[in-house]
């Protein structure tokens, strides 16, 4: 049946209306490739980013094999410092180390980390809100209650970040997240390098998180942004982002090793006091 001009016009109008009502896909349709553009979302984009805890990635690595998590635990002996930026970064690092110790089901390591959490939160002036969680970690370690320890580490980190944000110190809160992400990612690269596969390496495809950290540093107050450790982290993250964006056909073992090396070097910088 031959379509009338009116029908053609109506169909064209309807299609145009549909495309203009869906700007997320309009540009993509013109290019012939359907790509989602979150920037063109016709609503409100929530800026807050929830950074995954290391155990989210670790649980996938467990499903893909049986990593030797005990081999991944690093001794925690952090230097004393009055530098709040370093303390916040160290706090994130220590909590992430806690997730490694939980994965390894190592009671003594968890207890050591629990004590380190107490020391760092005391130095940060946040012991009052952290102590119940730290105590719960120590109690649960005695019982080998791993799921509860995991929950308490997550709560501890949230409590510290919330307290920092209540004190209008969002920059410090971001440092906690960054320290944790760097330590978690260093563990992932270590496990993946030891037993390389494309599926394991794909876990490093996290450009949005790295962009989020770079943007967070960029928004920091000058005294924090120019802190030597933070400025090193910004440089290191840019290098990591390049590696992630360059892994169009997947990560090579070398790229994984390079990301791990960068994380390790930044973590060393966090743990050094002048």
């Amino acid at each position: 049946m031959k379509r009338s001009s009116f029908q053609r016009l109506a169909a064209t109008t309807a299609l145009s209306a549909l495309v203009s009502a869906c700007p997320l896909w309009s540009q993509a349709a013109a290019a012939g490739v359907q790509e989602f553009d979150p920037q063109a979302f016709p609503g409100q984009v929530v800026d807050d980013v929830v950074v995954p805890v290391p155990s989210e990635v670790f649980s996938v690595l467990d499903k893909l094999g049986e990593p030797n998590w005990r081999q991944e635990i690093r001794s925690v002996d952090l230097p004393k410092s009055a530098d709040r930026i370093k303390l916040a970064l160290m706090f994130g690092l220590v909590v992430a180390e806690g997730f490694v110790a939980v994965q390894a089901e190592d009671k003594e390591a968890v207890k050591d980390i629990g004590r380190e959490v107490i020391d760092l939160s005391t130095a940060l002036g946040l012991i009052k809100s952290v102590r119940p969680h730290a105590q719960a970690i120590l109690d649960a370690a005695d019982k080998g209650d791993w799921s509860n320890i995991r929950k308490e580490f997550d709560q501890t980190q949230k409590t510290v970040r919330d307290s920092m944000e209540q004190m209008k110190d969002t920059d410090l809160s971001q440092c906690v997240s960054m320290g944790g992400w760097l330590r978690g990612t260093a563990s992932v690269t270590s496990v993946v390098t030891k037993n390389f596969s494309a599926d394991r390496a794909e876990l490093l495809n996290q450009p949005m998180l790295v962009e989020h950290f770079i943007a967070s540093i960029d928004k920091m107050a000058a005294d924090k942004k120019d802190h030597p450790t933070v400025s090193d982290i910004a440089k290191g993250l840019k290098g990591i982002l390049e590696k992630m964006e360059g892994a169009v056909d997947g990560f090579t073992k070398d790229a994984v090793r390079e990301i791990g090396k960068t994380c390790d070097s930044l973590l060393s910088g966090i743990q050094v006091t002048k």
Partner: protein, 149 residues
């Protein structure tokens, strides 16, 4: 004169007391939204999901579409729980991949919350799109939490 002043003072006190009584309720509503999101999470916890302590929340115009960008890892199963503090609402909750394709499974809703499950086909960034539409209120409180297993 004195009586009138006393009455005015009493009225002012009553108004202040009513406002004070209302204030904690309005403060409680975002927490209530999270409580309902956690209620939605409860059956998932029994199925082995680990609930994250961090979550998104806020107050928004009824029906306003919101989006959060979230990192997910292939190999994990995720669940998202959207809760609100308002009654008589309808929900929208979906997860889109980088091509804009919906990938969520098992949408379920109740009076105060809804949930979906996701098995991400790839490790990467996904968009969680949602809205809460109230039949009575202009603004709604919401909380979006997630868990994984």
């Amino acid at each position: 004169m004195h009586l009138s002043a006393r009455l005015t003072r009493r009225a002012a006190l009553l108004t202040a007391a009513s406002l004070l009584a209302l204030t904690p309720l309005s403060h409680a509503t975002i927490d209530d939204a999270h409580t309902f999101a956690m209620e939605a999470a409860s059956p998932f916890v029994q199925q082995g999901f680990i609930v994250r302590e961090d979550y998104w929340n806020g107050e928004v115009k009824s029906g306003q579409k919101l989006m959060v960008r979230h990192q997910m890892f292939k190999g994990n199963e995720y669940a998202f729980w959207l809760g609100t503090a308002q009654e008589d609402v309808s929900f929208e909750l979906k997860v889109l991949d980088e091509t804009g394709k919906e990938i969520a499974l098992d949408y379920k809703s109740s009076q105060m919350y809804c949930s979906i499950r996701v098995n991400p086909p790839k490790t990467g960034t996904y968009s969680v799109v949602f809205s809460v539409t109230s039949k009575k209120e202009k603004g709604v409180y919401w909380a979006l939490a997630y868990g994984y297993r």
